[in-house]
């Protein structure tokens, strides 16, 4: 495998972007990424998108994106793994460049979620769960993670305060992120007093519905050097799946797919967790961040909650988690999230994080964890400064 790098990135506006359509959001992110990287062409395009069909009645996503980028003719493909679509698009680009098939590949993600109403969005998102054995019985995404939360609370004594602390931290970071959907601080009390969505998760424990796109230019180190722009190396990529239904997991208090994906990524990178200084993880719900940190091995089972309360994962803590603001504050346009996580790591490693959220101490290695559904797929990438 050749060395693979990210040499530029771009994001569209993230939030309720009424004025930009499905295809326009993509173009906004893609053109920004191309400009940022300085590349003059692409060899191929991957677009992570969970459901163009259910949100925008638009399939054939690769083709329409290439077309509206002005590059009809470009090899283009949509990648789907529910909320892990973006991370999987990055992996596809990584493999295509690393294997030598292409030199310059755009890894992008896109989701337009506000052209349907709340029920429409819930129904579309439900596709990430088991339609017949979970959704049929009335399961919602907050509901599935709420069940994980109750199991975790019963087993380890995790509290609502610990979960709320995740949201507070991520808002603190995201308030400094110009792209964030909700760039303001919140409090633990505010989270606990917000309306209960699915016991024990309050509305402020849950990531929002967001329109947005993100794109990263993936290329060889040789080309990255020639472009003269800041770049990072993708040194590890790992993917794993697990049972689609929560009831069939071996242990509902851990995300086995995250553990295995991380092991695979570290193996490829020739690195250990202790070599990593910070991470972007998939905080679709506050409990998710706690469970993922334990599943990745950063904390012993049950210990991520107390550590978060103690500030260990804050921007200036021992191991900053979600300096971007995470899904909770930055937003979660499903297919785009995985790519945006990689963009945050790219920015932090190249000293380009805006607004005051640059992690102190010049981190050298960062990782991303992107997850689909209630944990049925996970994709981990490890990146290193050039």
């Amino acid at each position: 495998m050749r060395d693979v790098c990210i040499v530029g990135a771009g994001m569209s506006k993230w939030g309720e972007v009424w004025r930009r359509s499905f295809r326009q959001l993509f173009v906004d992110a893609a053109t920004a990424a191309i400009k940022d990287s300085g590349v003059d062409h692409l060899d191929s395009l991957y677009v992570g998108c969970m459901s163009g069909g259910l949100f925008a009645q638009q399939e054939h996503v690769g083709a329409i994106c290439a077309d509206y980028l002005g590059m009809a003719g470009l090899p283009a493909m949509r990648v789907e793994s529910a909320c892990a679509s973006g991370g999987m698009a990055l992996r596809a680009a990584f493999i295509e460049v690393g294997s030598g098939v292409s030199d310059i590949v755009m890894a992008s993600g896109l989701e337009k979620m506000t052209d349907v109403d709340g029920d429409g969005a819930t129904a579309a998102l439900a596709g990430a769960a088991d339609q017949e054995y979970e959704v049929f019985h009335g399961a919602t995404f907050p509901g599935l993670y709420a069940m994980m939360a109750h199991a975790h609370m019963a087993k380890y004594g995790t509290t609502s305060e610990m979960m709320a602390a995740v949201a507070v931290k991520n808002h603190h970071n995201g308030a400094m992120n110009p792209v964030a959907q909700y760039p303001f601080e919140i409090t633990v009390e505010g989270v606990l007093n917000s309306v209960m969505v699915a016991d024990p998760l309050h509305i402020l424990d849950c990531s929002p519905i967001t329109d947005g796109a993100a794109a990263a230019i993936v290329t060889t180190e040789e080309i990255a050097k020639k472009l003269g722009k800041p770049y990072v190396k993708i040194i590890g990529s790992g993917v794993a799946t697990d049972t689609i239904a929560l009831a069939q997991r071996d242990d509902m208090t851990t995300i086995k797919a995250a553990t295995i994906a991380a092991d695979r990524a570290f193996k490829m990178a020739g690195k250990k967790l202790s070599d990593v200084q910070f991470t972007e993880v998939h905080d679709c719900f506050t409990i998710s961040e706690l469970v993922i940190l334990e599943s990745l091995g950063l904390y012993e089972p049950g210990k991520a909650g107390p550590a978060t309360l103690a500030g260990e994962t804050a921007l200036d803590g021992k191991f900053p988690v979600n300096s971007s603001g995470g899904l909770k504050c930055k937003g979660h346009p499903v297919g785009a999230t995985g790519v945006a996580q990689a963009i945050e790591v790219f920015k932090q490693l190249t000293g380009q994080a805006e607004g005051g959220r640059q992690i102190p101490g010049s981190p050298k290695v960062g990782m991303t964890h992107n997850m689909g559904g209630s944990g049925a797929s996970s994709v981990v990438h490890i990146m290193e400064v050039a």
Partner: protein, 133 residues
Amino acid sequence: MTMFSSRSWREFPQRYRLEASKFKKSGKTYYPPRDVEPVTGDTEQEIVRLPDIGKVVTYTVIRIAPGQWGDEGPYALAIVELTDGTRLMAQMTDCNVDEVKIGMEVRMEFRRIQAEGSAGVLSYGHKAVPKWF
């Protein structure tokens, strides 16, 4: 969103009779039924009916329910572990949502799960009722 008749009809054995796959070599039971056993790859199986008694291993109370469930909220959703070790997800019914606890004993009872408006098809299956006899 509605589920077209054919998709619903295909699920009747699982929904109506809690039919599961029991694989010959391992003797393990899986619900829903599967064609291929996880890990072993075994394909030799027989259809068995799950027991109807179990306990709650985790749960939530859905307080903001999606449109079609709006009238039924709040409702409790649980993962139930039946007496043979098989787990499945089901709504709790016939109880106050605040009464649901991990470890609660339940019985699976035949109930109406969904109705498609006032003119569409009715979907039946099982819900978990606190065991009282």
